[in-house]
């Protein structure tokens, strides 16, 4: 009994250390975002804002342009996710329901291209998009997002399609549906949780995309949130309060999605199926 108590104590200490390590940077960003610039820059560091102000959020949103960045990020991410979900349903269904020649090669390809470094693709993709006059457009980002995110989503979606019993489709057939109608009326409704999960994964990936946006976008009016955040850091006389506020604005979407996904992360996915 005594040993059990000490083990529980050690566990609690370790859990608390891990939680503090994770929470501290978030707490510090919130703390900084609520301070006035003078308080941030002062020699004596304060662990709670003396007078909490919201001016940094207003500043980041209206003056720095996070209203625009946020809208751009939403637009690019949502359009990307729509294409990713469509592709992953098609591919996931094909992988789950059919045996076909070249299936293993195709699967290997889906896995292998996740290892292609974004840094290596910056130059060749810039050239290609430049050639078709897509540089500077959100379209170029959407194409890249879809290409980089969909392989993982297809593999994920395949697992969800596997869980929809084939017998249901047969029943639909017998009732006079053709295969497409069967998928539309029977499989899709049952896939909704899977689709939401895939969409959430893809949305986090698209929302966080940075390198290609940096390479392709040149007009501040088109910047997405990661670019906006990064540009603020490089400015002379950095406005730290607004940066912290921008960071909190930018994490709002992933945090909400994560709250939904976190159960799936451990229980729903097999090892190696989670993208880092």
């Amino acid at each position: 009994m005594k040993e059990k108590k000490s083990a529980a104590l050690v566990r609690w200490i370790l859990v608390l250390i891990a939680s503090v390590f994770v929470m501290f940077p978030l707490y510090w960003a919130v703390n900084t975002s609520l301070k006035q610039q003078s308080e941030i820059l002062s020699k004596s560091v304060t662990y709670l804002p003396r007078i909490p102000v919201l001016s940094n959020f207003i500043d980041a949103w209206t003056n720095v342009g996070f209203d625009q960045y946020f809208f751009n990020s939403i637009k690019v991410s949502l359009l990307s996710v729509i294409f990713i979900v469509m592709l992953s349903i098609m591919v996931g269904y094909a992988l789950s329901r059919y045996k076909f020649k070249g299936k293993n090669i195709f699967l290997g390809l889906l896995l292998a291209i996740q290892f292609i470094p974004a840094a290596v693709m910056l130059i060749p993709l810039f050239n290609i998009f430049n050639g078709i006059h897509l540089i500077g457009t959100h379209m170029s980002l959407i194409v890249v997002n879809v290409t980089f995110q969909f392989p993982f989503c297809c593999i994920l979606m395949r697992g969800f399609v596997d869980n929809v019993p084939v017998a249901l489709e047969e029943a639909a057939r017998i009732d006079g549906c053709n295969r497409f109608q069967g998928v539309l009326k029977v499989v899709l409704p049952m896939l909704v949780p899977g689709i939401v999960t895939v969409a959430a994964f893809a949305l986090i990936g698209c929302w966080n995309e940075f390198m290609f946006a940096l390479m392709f976008l040149n007009d501040p009016a088109k910047y997405t949130i990661p670019i906006g955040l990064n540009m603020m850091q490089g400015e002379y006389g950095v406005h730290y309060g607004a940066i912290a506020a921008g960071a909190i604005i930018s994490m709002s979407v992933p945090v909400v999605l994560f709250a939904y996904l976190q159960k799936y992360l451990v229980t729903g996915l097999s090892a190696g199926a989670v993208k880092g």
Binding site: W28, F100, V166, L265
Partner: protein
Amino acid sequence: MQNADEIALHTLTTGRKRVAKTPYILIFPAIVLIAGIMIYPLGTVFYLAFQNYNPTMPFANGFCGLDNFKKIFTTNEFYEALLVSAKWVVAEVVLQLVLGMIVALLLNQKFRGRGFFRAIIFAPWAMSGVLTAVLFSLIFNQNFGVLNDILKKAGWISQNIAWLANTKVVLNSVIIAELWKGIPFFAISLLAAMQGFPQDIYEAARVDGCSRVKVFRHITLPLLKETIILTTLLRTIWEFNSVDLIYALTGGGPVGKTTTLSLLIANQALRTNNYGYGSAISVISFFLLAVVAVIYIGATGFGRESDLQ
């Protein structure tokens, strides 16, 4: 089960065995995308590696033979970046594995508030590299950063340290920031595997009076072997490729102390516009990655069975 279903559905829908066109139609858009946006551009990297190509100086563009590769192997830049990459990848993967393992072991136990702490500890997984960089730049700041303040109050340092500008500590600072974001991935993968373990073995070990250390050493670790190998391989490649966080936190500086090979490539694209030179480094880093993967897979005997499916 799946197979029987499949055959049943096939005979139901087609009536006879024939080569189905449907799967090819379904994967066609994906193939087009992979070919057009991945494979073809990748091919052009190998072509560009032998070109002098800088979009801001078009008059000097053209075939240049092995010049780019000569530049790589005769200047220090490449070797320094290779060394930084090695340190970066080894430190990240080893620390993430060890700390991720501890977190997974903790969260695999039953205790009150487990779900809550799991959500908190895994949250950085969803954050972007740029966001992580911003969070840590506020902490690491030399003049008003909270890390210096805490260390001074604890009496461990007397002078402020420039965590992101001091050439001796900067790589460690960046490594810590990436750890914050990277530990959850390992913990999630390991925890997912642990929750699938048969409980009766643990029950038997407990009845036999095995210590916790023994249980971990002789039951948990062997059961986790495949997960550890796969996760470590994935992570090695991802960390080798990762650029967002370092780019946003230090840009590779000071004096190249945090410039990994991937960041060196990215900087050719984003800053110096030496596209040919950047492509040549890409080619080399590609081969490096392939060699590492092959050695690793060979050494650990992983991949003999069809693990990937």
